[in-house]
Subunit: 355 residues, 2 copies
């Protein structure tokens, strides 16, 4: 039986993507070769890569606006390094909203002055800081749009004239934003875009070439741009599955439609968290709650064993919270059906009734 | 009809690997989840990673000898950078035998003095230099064991007391070597080990910690070693398919058995190249020829069109030579059956008869 997969990532992808990918592993489009054994220089793969890049830009509304899309390797962790290697000449401003932001700050410090404009570390990152000032002379401002571990999301972005760099790993393609306000967006594929093993980097080309240091080839965005993401052998299968997922997103009506479904799923679960006396949301302010990752704890730890066996019995997977937060985390990425959230809510109600 | 796939990489993998991987994309081991949607922290994936690491060390005969195996991202191109970032304090010695060696040299120059102990660039890399001296005070000696583009292989390794770093991307697991003579071995998976998207790094731990510079987390071998290849989200599917391929290799009798089969395949093709007046091998000296990648040209370019249509009609894929060499390249990695080489040889004979 197919599980209800609330895993924080790698995570559920659309069933039709699994089916197409499974077939392509045996034979890609009837060419007598697996998608895993075609050359990255073949016309088949070049088409996959171009299609994936175009779909990514199209979904974000960034076609013909000076942006290019790359599919690189190394996840957001590599982008913490690449962003600062390529962009940080003197000083950069970072908003610290969680574990991943903190890691981004750490890597950037090797390349220049890092100013933490605000941090919610004082309360274990259970809120999003507001009313901070971004210095006008910063090379860029870096933020994390969604904090997977803590279940918070930047619902709005600060107005600033400095280039904005954003780690969107856990909420890209899940909600409408004016993406043209960002100069650099990056996202590990393994939430809303595909399997682990590739990273989408969307970059406004005019921000490059402004630092004085030499940049190693593999870390230099200009090198990858010049070769259209083919400077080295790309992760063929991960890009292919990302393309399939972006195609599915288009069939479903794109980001706008997806946002509505995601809000419905989030409303259903957060209403239950707020209503059910057995549970308590982790995030301090409701307006900071992430529709992608809902974090919550039991109000009575003595029912833990019973609740855990109940959701497991209901076919739910991946509900345990991260060790920094404890309790539970329900990740409701694009591909998670509303039905799975209903199953979880039903279990929560049943747990209340029987406790 | 399944193609005879001579692609230089990404390349053919064993059919049973394609079949198992295809099934796991739908449902991994009957757990109700695709292998692409399981958490990298799940017991299922931890077992896959450990199994892949153990098999890699076992095949190389490096278990319990102070080595660890990592599955990273970014291919050999990232290792050109990481090797020098982690190991190059003052001076390193590089043997330049082709495009990839040259790229490794280029990246290393950012970190210290690079001494090219020998190069075959003077003859478009159609031979392997011998009788060079490796300075005893070099931090390490770097070589490329097999040159995919030019079709040469280091049949023996120089004796030296400095640590040896080797890019084995295109011939790892294909022949017996005393692997304990290497301090660092790296290989992009996409030839003999798996699909593109992961890189095997086998490292002798005692060579680390000797440079004075700070190393960014994602480029620091110690960081990845400390976290057993799980510092960041690994490329789950690529590691899984690599594990399947390493299991297949074990079933087939390991590297020794594979080496015999590879020699048979290479003998069959090179004999035909040498016998058939229509063809001429690219590599100057027979002893430098690679059993993995056989490069050859037509002696009469006027038959090109006919020969090209003949091999395509026979179901052969990926035979075109790299643009730096021209002509043809037959890549005969572990998973390529002898039968496919026979089909190619038959076509070469037929081309001779009808020309």
């Amino acid at each position: 039986m197919k599980k209800h997969n609330f895993s924080p990532g790698p995570c559920i992808l659309p069933q039709q993507v699994f089916e197409k990918a499974s077939q392509a592993v045996l034979d890609y489009n009837g060419i007598g070769l697996s998608v895993m054994e075609i050359s990255h220089r073949s016309k088949e793969f070049i088409q996959i890569m171009e299609n994936a890049q175009n779909l990514a830009l199209e979904h974000l509304g960034l076609q013909d606006k000076g942006y290019k899309a790359l599919f690189l390797q190394g996840g957001a962790s590599m982008q913490f390094l690449m962003a600062s290697y390529n962009l940080l000449e003197t000083k950069a401003a970072y908003l610290n909203t969680g574990t991943w932001s903190s890691k981004a700050v750490k890597e950037a410090k090797m390349f220049g002055e890092v100013m933490e404009v605000a941090s919610s570390k004082d309360a274990n990152f259970n809120y999003i800081p507001k009313n901070y000032t971004i210095p006008a002379d910063a090379d860029y401002f870096h933020c994390t749009s969604n904090n997977t571990i803590f279940g918070t999301q930047l619902r709005s972005l600060p107005e600033t004239d400095v280039p904005v760099v954003c780690d969107m790993s856990s909420d890209i393609f899940s909600r409408k934003l004016d993406f043209s306000k960002f100069s650099l967006i990056y996202a590990g594929a393994q939430k809303n875009m595909g399997p682990s093993g590739t990273t989408l980097v969307v970059i406004k080309e005019d921000i490059l070439g402004k630092v004085s240091r030499s940049i190693p080839s593999m870390l230099d965005y200009r090198v990858h741009l010049e070769k259209d993401s083919m400077f080295n052998t790309p992760p063929v299968f991960a890009v292919y599955v990302s393309m399939l997922t972006l195609e599915w997103l288009k069939e479903k009506g794109g980001i706008s439609s997806m946002e509505k479904i995601n809000e419905t799923k989030a409303d259903l679960l957060y209403s239950e968290i707020d209503r059910n006396p057995l549970f308590k949301g982790f995030v301090a302010n409701k307006e900071d709650r992430s529709p992608m990752n809902a974090t919550f704890n039991l109000t009575d730890e003595s029912v833990k064993e019973q609740f855990d066996s109940m959701w497991k019995e209901a076919g739910i997977n991946g509900l345990n919270g991260h060790r920094s937060v404890g309790g539970y985390r329900a990740s409701m990425y694009n591909a998670l059906p509303l039905e799975s959230v209903q199953v979880l809510v039903d279990v929560m109600r049943e747990a209340e009734r029987t406790s």
